[in-house]
Amino acid sequence: MSDSSAPQATGHRSEPVLIEKSVRGRRGVRPPSPQGPLGPLEEMLPGVELRTDLPLPELSELDVVRHYTALSRRNYGIDAGFYPLGSCTMKYNPRANECAARSPGWARLHPLTPPAAVQGALQLMYELNCFLAEVAGMAAATIQPAAGAHGETLSLMMVRAYHRSRGDMERTSVLIPDSAHGTNPASAALCGFQVRPITSDADGLSDTRHLRELVGADTAAVMLTNPNTLGLFESRIAEICAVVHDAGGLVYCDGANMNALLGVARPGEMGFDVMHFNLHKTFGTPHGGGGPGCGAIAVGSVLEPFLPVPVVVRRGNALYDLCHDRPLSVGRVHSFYGAFLNAVRGYAYIRSLGPDGLREVARHAVLNANYVRARIGGAYEIPHNRLCMHEVVASASRLKRRFGVRAMDVSKRLMDHGFHPPTNYFPLIVSEALMIEPTETESKQTIDAFCDALIAIAAEAETDPEVVRGAPYSTPVRRPDETAAVKRLDVRWGSSGQ
């Protein structure tokens, strides 16, 4: 109600930050009362320095409901419309799975309850591990990593432990294609490896010649994304894996793009030794504005001994248990077992689709991406315009060259058509990249409307380039100044920035 410049009943009204709405002495929800007389706290905390000031916002319950309702109305999700962010697999998040994950039988479990009293939870984890291993074509799996990057971290720790267990201490480098997602090199660096980039060839695939040159006795692992970030299947993958294995290295699969392969092809059979899944992509758990995710990994039998503890096992007496006695284990990468409630969602997803349903996911994800490719190929360059997998990378470089309209401008203009833009400027090897991943849950109608918009924008770039460059026009804010944000560094209320 403070924004009288653009007053709108149900529209873009700006919303003050919480602290600006605070009124001294106002109360919200009352917590449970103490079970006993509450004397001065000092008596229970003798000699402890107490806090004198706690300047948190003071609001009523209704204030809070209105605040977050308003914020949600300034946010876009899959539920609001098409969200073709490449590499993010923004598919429908089934509500039944949300229901399942909120059951007190899962949500109200304590992780340190004796295993005999949480058999249902252990069984679910055990079975999900089996399912993921089957989808991967590998020997075992763990849900412990909290996200994809965490899965990469864990996997590289296991790779390192594997080499060391063989007395092979000299494997200090990890080879990664220049098209890879940033988490790949960052994870390698985090694990103390040196990163060596593999170039991409003219076909958009990893350059096998370059790879052969780089691979050697210092190669701990090669990290590949398959399909790669151009949406292309690395067709020489078997050869690559053989080369790396011959040199004593292992091969990691970044499985962020598994939506293309479910039930169609398995990384294990391609030669990969380890991979991560993003349950928050492939298996439809909601991304929640940035998380939580679940970056479960699957491993081949050579790496199985190195899995983090505890490992869920099934004992002879048909009881599920947590096994800590794993002498070769790398250790632990999460406080407990990982994002269990996302495992529930992922389990529900797999059970609700079954083997045929999962295969249809991949088939329709690929159908949709190729359809986008076919429809926009006239208006935009497609650097590698042949059959793609679940996503397609187009480029605005022609528009940039001829009309000064960049990929980011196209993206902003898409907002005015009601769509979330594709991923921009990734992969880095495509200039002015527009990376489009429609996912299988989008209909032909939606995709057509999106492609129509993209084509219209390409035409507009020719006739009215300034209009496109000035977009968006219909959003609550327009092109926030990112340079100023860095300079001001106003990252909290009450700071100098404000």
Binding site: P31, V65, L85, G105, G290, P292, T441, S443, E482, R492
Partner: protein, 444 residues
């Protein structure tokens, strides 16, 4: 089939537009031998009703904090969560949005993250905070790695009274990164601070520590100064409502677990790591940060900032590899804090303190002895009466409807026979008295 909207006719039209005859043809880039010749060996599809029934049946095989009175803590707590929290975070626009890469589409989530950063900074008494970490354990490990980078040292001194799992995660990360972890011993329920000695990158203490006791942060700060190291504090956000915040003691980094703020225990995940530090370390810290700025029309606007620290831009030179974080739980924590307010949060903390003391009183009445006399917050180490052993006592308590405390002997040889019992604001007088009575009966 599943959530796929395509009709036969649409499939045909799309294939025609692509110029292939069948969906199978689209997979031609996958070499034939790599294509699966059989269906996945997975159970057949279940309809929604059958799925939910199946899951309910599995779930009913679990002892939960609803079926049992929970006196177990050790890193995951049964705190009260107002109904409004889930109602708000379940709104589809939050739930189904991605990381806010396009600020125009995501002002709501960006502002919510900015507010979360503000709340964490306020609680911890620090200058800035990030958008969240996976959990307290990884937040602590990343803080230690940051300290190593900043201090140019590869040795971390960590209190042995930091959560055993967090230390385990730290060791796992350290192992990979060539960092040495030294444990600081404890006595009388508190950490023994290093007195000078070798220079460290950081001194790490948890407060309240794993035994539930309040640590002496002034001493920790002195030790860190003496060793030229950073002070990293693993703090509990609810205890922070009562305790002088680590920022006041000069902590360099405060990390912690936010689960107790509006998040389900969820068998230990997802959890909510938080990370706060000093402004001058902003460019060294891991994780996402949202900043306020203005837009083309001069309106207040939010955007992710300091992006050049991040993996997608900086790649192997990034301060961390974290990408997906725990945004929705950060939102839950913010709603939770907003709806409790400072007074409500203080009341929660005071009720924990009171209930834990009532619990100790009741347990000592039946013959338990406190292991240490230090002030404690919500958890406390006791030696139960009798010779049953902690594990067996817990087993028998389960049958009587109690989820017993943590068996300290399982993680600390030196604390064999000690039981770490916890009482949050959710425990009732009946439950507390019931526990004491059950202990009395079982150990008699």
């Amino acid at each position: 089939m599943g959530f796929i909207p395509h009709t036969d006719r649409e499939r045909a039209e799309m294939l025609a537009a692509i110029g292939v005859d069948s969906i199978d043809d689209l997979f031609e880039p996958i070499p034939e031998p790599l294509r699966m010749a059989r269906p996945l060996a997975l159970p057949a599809a279940l309809d929604e009703r059958a799925l939910l029934r199946h899951l309910e049946r599995l779930a009913s095989d679990n002892v939960t904090m609803d079926t049992h009175a929970c006196f177990l803590g050790a890193g995951v707590y049964d705190h009260f969560v107002p109904a409004v929290v889930d109602a708000l975070i379940s709104r589809g626009e939050f739930l189904t949005s991605y990381t806010p890469y396009q600020p125009e589409m995501s002002q709501g989530m960006l502002q919510a993250i900015y507010e979360f950063q503000s709340l964490v900074a306020t609680l911890t008494g620090m200058e800035i905070a990030n958008a969240s970490m996976y959990d307290a354990a990884t937040a602590m490990a990343e803080a230690c790695l940051m300290a190593c980078e900043v201090k140019g040292s590869r040795v971390i001194g960590v209190s042995r009274l930091v959560h055993p799992h967090y230390r385990h995660v730290l060791r796992t990360y350290a192992e990979s990164s060539g960092v040495e972890v030294r444990e600081l011993a404890h006595a009388e329920g508190a950490t023994q601070m290093p007195d000078g000695g070798a220079p460290l990158a950081a001194v790490v203490v948890q407060n309240p520590n794993f035994l539930g006791c309040i640590e002496d942060l002034s001493a920790a700060r002195e030790a860190s100064l003496a060793s030229g190291s950073m002070l990293i504090v693993v703090a509990d956000p609810i205890a922070l409502a009562l305790l002088r915040p680590p920022g006041d003691y000069g902590a360099d980094v405060v990390v912690g677990e936010g689960q107790g703020l509006g998040c389900s225990p969820g068998f230990g995940g997802p959890m909510l790591g938080f990370f706060a530090t000093r402004r001058e370390l902003a460019r060294r810290m891991p994780g996402r940060i949202v900043g306020a700025t203005t837009d083309l029309d001069g309106r207040r606007a939010y955007t992710m900032t300091l992006r050049t620290r991040e993996q997608d831009i900086r790649r192997e030179k990034a301060t961390s590899n974290i990408c997906t974080n725990e945004a929705l739980l950060a939102l839950a924590a913010s709603v939770h804090l907003a709806v409790l307010g400072p007074q409500g949060l203080r009341e929660v903390a005071a009720a924990c303190l009171r209930n834990a003391h009532s619990m100790v009183d009741a347990l000592t009445q039946v013959g338990a002895r406190r292991a240490f006399e230090r002030p404690f917050f919500r958890e406390v180490a006791v030696r139960p009466p009798g010779r049953l052993g902690v594990a067996e006592l817990n087993r028998r308590l389960l049958q009587r409807g109690f989820l017993g405390g943590y068996d300290l002997g399982s993680a600390y040889d030196e604390l064999d026979g000690c039981w770490l019992v916890c009482a949050t604001e959710n425990r009732t007088r009946e439950e507390i008295d019931g526990l004491a009575q059950a202990v009395a009966e079982l150990t008699r």
